[in-house]
Subunit: 396 residues, 2 copies
């Protein structure tokens, strides 16, 4: 049985290239940018007035002049005006081009205006003040957003500004999520005493939705021939298959056998972790297969621990490890990596992880109280101390 | 001029009730639950086999018996079987109902099986082991998810399990986002020298999208009569109006005046903060108005600082304050709250905030390097020390 680290390493060696597509920029939130975004002009593109007020020549102020005849108004959105007499002033609005022949802006708060003349009421003015100089943020040709950035509201603003009405992003994988298990009925059905409703596929849909992947779902009965026939066609049609269930030691856990018979190359089966041990992973030329154990917490953890980093590396996004401080002593079985659901809180710049009292890998209700999982390493020890720091994986 | 704290307080005193709607559960990710979700059965609903293996009566093992004749297989999804002879065993699969007349499950790894008989190969077995007892996670009638929870993948799993094919959530406000400013052209246009492209409305659309609010956008020219006519109809048609621009001291900043003439009750205008000072807020009987200053960073900050908490309180979601540790000394003007863009990093269970060298409230490109804002309080001091802890607002 391999370790979590080995399993992660193998998974990350087998990423996929989903290709690139061009989409309207406003639909690109959460997607991964696949082109550098370059300033099409200087930022700002002109010497931009940064305060409502008047624009003057500083040398006249320096020589003691306080009254400036108003020649006109330079509005935002109007072509640049020119101050005819350098001893006069222009009224100027935030966002406007600084008029020709002026070099300093004084805000209205520091000026008395009668219809024709503006009188400056303060004694200290810095030459060039309140002007957002052309190219001072970024100059034309500068890379504003690097390829492989996840697009958020901040990037959307920049894309709009440089006129990227459409933008190149990583295509998303075409994913099918398959549940197995004859005990399962659908959400809108009433289960008999020995049945339960399907939930893992919908949890997975939501987790993939957080990555902006629209996955399809289906259910296959625990019958080997049916399983084989359906998976054969899915392997051709999809980039990625996620399974939940049928990978353990049960009499009807046909999945590893079926995948093998269909020529899916096994990467590994079983990882020394709890929950989620019987995880099976493999690939064909065109498809990656993640077969997660059917217990709800196992499926949930394994999607976060393996599928998420695999997806991020496939689209060339680097993700940072996060850590938290354990708030109470925890003991568990030695020689297994352990993923425990935790509530995360922030205090004084620190992140604290409070373990949620769950009832094993079947207890999906306990996830509602959690924000993520804490990862305890595989060691000989069985006790982890309050105050120690461990990696965490957040899911909300 | 009021403080940020006063402005927040006033905004939060003027929340809105958007009502409730019922939607398909799988579309409810990110939405706010408006009903308690109750266990429709025990969790698990039967004594559930938790390992593939055999089920026996522990008392026979206790009396030294190791060989158990196999009576049959209890598959997941099959009605409960009964062990006829208490000295025999049943093969049982994970997820199956525990057969009648058995009380302990031994996993396949600890059993040798020939066709008819299972031989237990270990000497220590706990009575009742590997059984997930009916109701041990939650009993029927227990509240599994509380009203006013934001629905994530964890909640989706629970909703599926209890058969909530549709679920009651907070309706979203009908929002119109309006840009003003005659210098603005649209994303797919080529700006003239004195023009720039619209970006703030799209940034706001994305920020609201993160709250699962689908907002509409429009642009109104800096002409008072047009502004007034259009806003009059928007005030009737929408729950919330967000403006960007036309709230400062410029000659064409008609918005406060127009809103006043249209009977919008002003809550405040101008807050002692940087950026975002000229923020104007008001309301009518059916509509809340947030008029943000037009500089990109101002609009961005104010949406996070005011609209987000207002929305959360409107839908009865409590949000936790987050904090981070400042990594270098920062000085700025006294007597203003300051929101500074920061890059956040996690190390050793601590969150560090590195200020991003921005170029004022017009510099939207600097937001691309940031993950959030740090909030420095309004004080007489002008210096904040490296290592101090301050509130942060994350936007990615």
């Amino acid at each position: 049985m391999i370790t979590v680290e080995e399993a992660k390493h193998i998974i990350l060696e087998n990423t996929q290239d989903f290709g690139i597509e061009e989409i309207p920029f406003l639909q690109a939130v959460g997607r991964v940018l696949k082109e550098d975004i370059v300033a099409d002009r200087d930022f700002p593109p002109f010497n931009r007035v940064a305060m409502d007020g008047i624009a003057i020549n500083h040398r006249f102020f320096e020589h003691g002049i306080r009254d400036f005849k108003i020649e006109g108004i330079q509005a935002a959105g109007s072509p640049q005006q020119t101050l005819d007499n350098a001893a006069n002033c222009y009224e100027v609005m935030t966002g406007a081009v600084l008029p020709n022949n002026t070099d300093t802006v004084i805000r209205y708060e520091d000026v008395d205006i009668n219809t024709l003349v503006a009188t400056i009421t303060i004694d200290e003015i810095k030459e060039g003040q309140n002007i957002h100089i052309q190219g001072s943020d970024k100059s034309e040709g500068t890379i504003l957003i690097k390829k492989n950035t996840i697009i958020s509201a901040a990037e959307i603003g920049v894309l709009a500004t440089v006129g990227k009405a459409t933008v190149k992003v990583a295509k998303q994988p075409k994913v099918m999520i398959v549940s197995t298990g004859d005990e399962l009925v659908d959400v809108n059905e009433n289960p008999l005493d020995h049945q339960i409703r399907r939930s893992n596929v919908y949890t997975l849909v939501s987790l993939l939705n957080d990555l902006k992947i629209q996955a399809e779902t289906t259910h296959i009965a625990d019958e080997k021939s049916v399983l084989k026939e359906k998976i054969e066609s899915y392997l051709k049609e999809y980039d990625t298959l996620l399974f939940s269930g049928a990978v353990s030691k049960g009499k009807f856990d046909f999945l590893p056998e079926v995948l093998d018979e269909l020529g899916v190359k096994k990467l590994f089966h079983r990882v020394s972790q709890r929950p989620g041990k019987p995880f099976w992973a493999g690939f064909t030329n065109n498809c990656n297969v993640f077969a997660f154990p059917g217990n709800p917490v196992s499926t949930f953890v394994n999607c976060l621990v393996y599928f998420y980093p695999w997806y991020y590396k496939s689209v060339a996004v680097s993700s940072e490890e996060k850590t938290a401080i354990l708030v109470k002593d925890i003991t568990f079985k030695p020689n297994l990596s352990c993923f425990l659901q935790v509530k995360l809180t922030s205090e004084n710049g620190q992140v604290y992880a409070t373990p949620i009292q769950g009832n094993g890998s079947g207890d999906l209700a306990s996830l509602v109280e959690a924000d993520g999982f804490i990862e305890f390493p595989k060691t000989e020890e069985v006790a982890f101390k309050k105050g120690s720091v461990f990696p965490i994986i957040k899911f909300r």
